[in-house]
Structure formats: C-alpha cells, structure tokens
Amino acid sequence: MVVRNASLALIVSLLAIGLTLAGLTRAAPLAVWNGLLRADALSALLLIVVAAHGLVTLAHGALRPWRVAAAAWLVGMATLQGHLAALGGLLVLAGLLQDTGSVDERPVWYRHVRRLAPLGVLAGLALVGMTGGAWNYGAPLAGAGLNSVSFALILVAALLALDAPALAGERALAGTPMVASGCLYVLVRLFSLGPWNLGWLFAALLMGGLVAFWAAWRAALAPAEQSAPWLNLSLSGMAITGVGLGSAAGLTVAGYVLLLWPVLRLGLERPVAGTRALWLLSAAVPLSGPFVAGWLAIAAATAGGLPALAVVLWLAALLMALPPARLALAPAVSSSSDGRVWLAAGCSAGLGLGAPLLLMALLAPVTVQLEGGLTPFGEIVVWPWAGLIVAFDTTRQPVATLPSLALVGLMLVLSALCRVALRLFALRER
C-alpha cells in the first residue's frame, strides 16, 4: 500500500510539473546548463501525457506500481533533455523497466521487442549526433546530422513500441504506452532539427494511415471487450499520420490524440460492459473526445491537400466508433464498479467540449515553437470565445469548421423544443 501511494504521489507530482511547465513555456522554451536541460511546450505536453498514462496504469491495478512510477519519471525526464544521447538513453532505461506483458500467445523474443524498441531511438539519435557533430538539439547546426537512416530507425522504433507488428498477428496486447509516447515524442522532436524531406513525410503518412485504418478494422472485427489495444493502435496511427502531414494542423492532431490516448485506456482497457457512459468514448457521438480527434485528422488531411487520406481517416474513425458503442449496448455481465468508465467519459466530454481551449492553451504553443521545421500545408485556428475550430489550407482558405459551442447551444435549444413537442403529442394521444 505504501509503495502504491508513493508511486501515485510521484506520478501526480510529475503531472504537476508538466502543468507548471506548460504555463512557463507557453511564450518561449526554457533552457539551463548550456541547453542540456531544455523544456518547451512539447516537453510539457509529453509530461502531462506520460503522467496521465501512469495514473491510468495504476488505476488498472498495476502489479508493480514502483516500476510504473519509475518508467513515467524516466520518460518524463527524457523529454526534458537537450542532449540527444541522454534523451535516447533515458528512454532505453524506461523500456527496460517496463513489464514484458502477458506470457500468452507470443514467443519470448517478441515480448522483448517492444521493451527494446527505444534502442532504435537511441541509435537514430546517436547517428544524428555523430554525423552532425552537435549533440544538443537546440544547437544552431544540430539538424545537419539528420539523415534518412536515423529517421527510419526512429520511425521503426516508434512503430515497434506501439506494437504495430501485432496487426499481422492474431491479437494485440495492452502495450507500453509510456515508452511508446516517448518514442513518438522523439519523432515529433525531429522537427526541432529542421524541416523533413518529402520522403520522410510520405513514409510517416503511409505508415500512419495504414496503421490507423488497419487497426481500426481489427478493432471493429474483434470482440468489443478486447478491442482496446486495437483502438489505441489506431489512435497512434492517427498521431503518426498527423506527424507525417508535417504541418501545424498535423501536429495539432498528434498532440490531441496523445492527450486522448490515456482517456481511452481508462475507459476501455478493462471495460464494464453495459455502461451507458461508454457512448462518450465513441467517435460517433458529436463533440466527444474521439469525435474531435477524428474530425481534426480529417480536417488536417484535407487542409494538407490529401483528400484520399482524409477519406481513409474518415473510415478509420467510423470503424473506431463501433466497439465502444457495442460495449455500451452489451448486457451488463459483472457487478464491478463503473466509476472508471464514468471518469473516462467525463474526461472525453471535457476534451471534446473543451477542445478549443485545449488547442489554444496546450497545442498552439507546440506548433508555434516547432514552426521552423513545419510545412505551411494546413493550420488549425481557434476562436475559443465562440468555440469555433477552423482548419485552413495553405492559401488561408477555410476547409473545415467545427462550431462546438454553437452546436451545443443549438442542440440544447432543440432538445427543449423536441421534449415539449413529444410531451404534447403524448398528451394528445392519451
């Protein structure tokens, strides 16, 4: 109990650090010790995401809570490193600390692939440092060492950490979200080194789109109570697609999806079938977190001039909407508490309705600070007082609009009118 409480306190403190840094780094990144420790809006976002994953893992009753706290802190501290080797090294340590997962249905070597995936990240980052001669990613010429091999190593490591090879197998496992988030962080961090070439963007788009659609398909086919790992993988695919778009809109998608990930894990990893709150974890419910994530992905792909990708992501969002809805409609089989599901539903509604504020407060600083490495193909702009989210293309023409608050206001008015009308009809029939 003491170990569990201490782990909980450590992760909550990590969350507090993340929130504090999000406030401090909104205007500009912070750097100390010649840039060896560096914090910007992206680091703060990842600290929040990793701490949230830690809390969710504890809420699911982790067998070794101290390992969860240690891994969360290692990934969190990795995001604050300016030195490439320290960043990769801390991720490798976090990977080694994590559990190998369940023993079922996987060969032993495969179970170690995900925990060793950060080695690919370390190798990629070391190659960047050795080739360019600058080990601090904030240094002026740090991007000189970035080449296709280092990029490929980092992308493949991220896919391995996310358990993307499971798509070819029979079932996906719960995964190692903290280390996978860390690997995704490194992939996004490459924008700090400079713009990506078209080949890298295309590779990330292709892999991301493929993983998002394929995993959503597997989620829709799997029994609803086993769909959570597929949904997580599909969501991660959307994040990689967002990164591959290489635009401010794409990074907004990646950031939003990273924030949504722990919420889906909380509600769906050990689902309580028959709980109505599960509806709010379905992308089919307007203004829920998954709905906004799907909309952002479709809008970003359209803004980037890739309508075919937008259609693929649309299909993925459609398929992802099915399992939570099926779970919500399934007959209740256990008497276990559904408090976790209601909390996840509340967070999902908060992420959806509060998306304009979230985009402005947490994600806009990320895109502004990484602007030097991004393409101009798409931007998400928010008018928070009107709850309006608009995606603009490269010519600053609006391509998609989500009037969240106006829609909620209108639906409230319509609900009242419908209720009155239905009551009148019922009275007349009586």
Partner: protein, 248 residues
Amino acid sequence: MGELPGALGLAWPRVILYPGGLFALVASYLLMRWLAACGGEPAWPAPPATPLDLVPPLAVLTLLPLAPARPFPFGLDLPVALVLLEWPRFRALAARDRAPAEALRDYALPLVAVLAIVVATGGLELAGLLRWPEAAPQRALLAVGAALWLLSLPRLLRAGPGGPAGALRALGLLLVGALPLLGALAAGAGQWLPAESAGWLVPPLAILGAALASGAAFRIPERRVGWIGAVGGAAVLALATYAASTVR
C-alpha cells in the same frame, strides 16, 4: 464574447420555421411518402421518437446553408453533418452487431462522393457546395460527386431506422446532395433572374430535383448501382488526377 449568444438569438427563424422546424417536419414527412412510393421504405423498424435521436439530424437541418434562410455565422462541414445525420442509424447499427464490412460497403459510395466534392470545392464545408466552380474539371467533379451522393442514398436509407428520426435523417442526406444542384441552378439563374427572386425560387427547385433523382435511384437495381458506382469512382479518380495536374 456576445457573438455566440447573438448568433443563436438571431437563428430562431431557422429553428422554428426554415430550414429546421416546421419545414423539416413537413418536408421529411412528404419525402418519406415519396420514397415509400418509390419502393424505398426503411427496412429497419422505427424506434420510439426521443429527443436523443431527433436532435442531431434536426441540428444539421437547422444549420444548412439554404436560401432564403438568414445566414448563420457558424456553419457545418461534411464530417460533422454526416455524423449528426447518421446518429439515429449508428445507434441502431451498434445494436445489431452487423459485420464492419457491411458498414464500410454502405459508406463507400458516399465517401467517394465526398472525395469528389473535396477535390472540386477544395474543402469540406457545406457552404462550399453552393459555389459552382468555374473550371470545367472541378465542375464535372462536383456534378459527379453530387450524383454519386444521391445514388448512394437508397442503400443508406433502406438500411436505416424509420420513424421521425429516420425521416429527418433522410431529408438531411437528401438536402446535402441538393446543395451542389442549388449552386449550379443559382449560377445559371443569376443571368436572367434577380438575386432576391432566385433566393426564393431556386432552392425549392433544387430540392424537388434532388428528391426526384433520389426517387429514380431507388428504382435502380442494387447490382446496377454497384456498377454505376464503380464507373463513377473511376471517373472521380480520373477527374481528380486531371484537376490536380491543372492546378498551378
């Protein structure tokens, strides 16, 4: 800050009269009668009418950019409109445990139509459907997109719930398909009709035209719809490639 309450306050004719409210109720009833006459009644039973099912499609109808309704500053786009319109069907779909492949087959044609529309108009906004493009490839794409959208309606509407929510959904899907027709008619009528008169005359014509077209689509055998859809999809790909190659 007062922009949002102000806009909602000025939207009451949309909510009560047109294109939501009274118009939506009457038009959806008439549309279902027409579709039933064309052999297009929904195969799924009608669930009891609840605000939960009625409100999302009604919200889309209320916010449709249809003249002569007063403009509303916060418009919708296709993904949001489709999610809201499909809400009654999705609830039924989740309860029925249908294979995901079937759901994908239902939405394949509408999504090809969306692809054509996005390439033609450069975006997903519903208001963009009203802008009849000047370039020929974009015009052809928008026309093919609208035709494919209307062609996809029989499959979508047959495999959906009936009742008031299903009727509002059907009307919403039909009106989305009518928007490009409205844009084309408005562009044509602009030369010989004053703008104010066009605002009153053209929308009913476009809606009527779309309803007749969808009624005709209901009479096409499903297998032939598949073939027409495949040819349309190929045409969309060819036109989209050509349109992309002509962009400077």
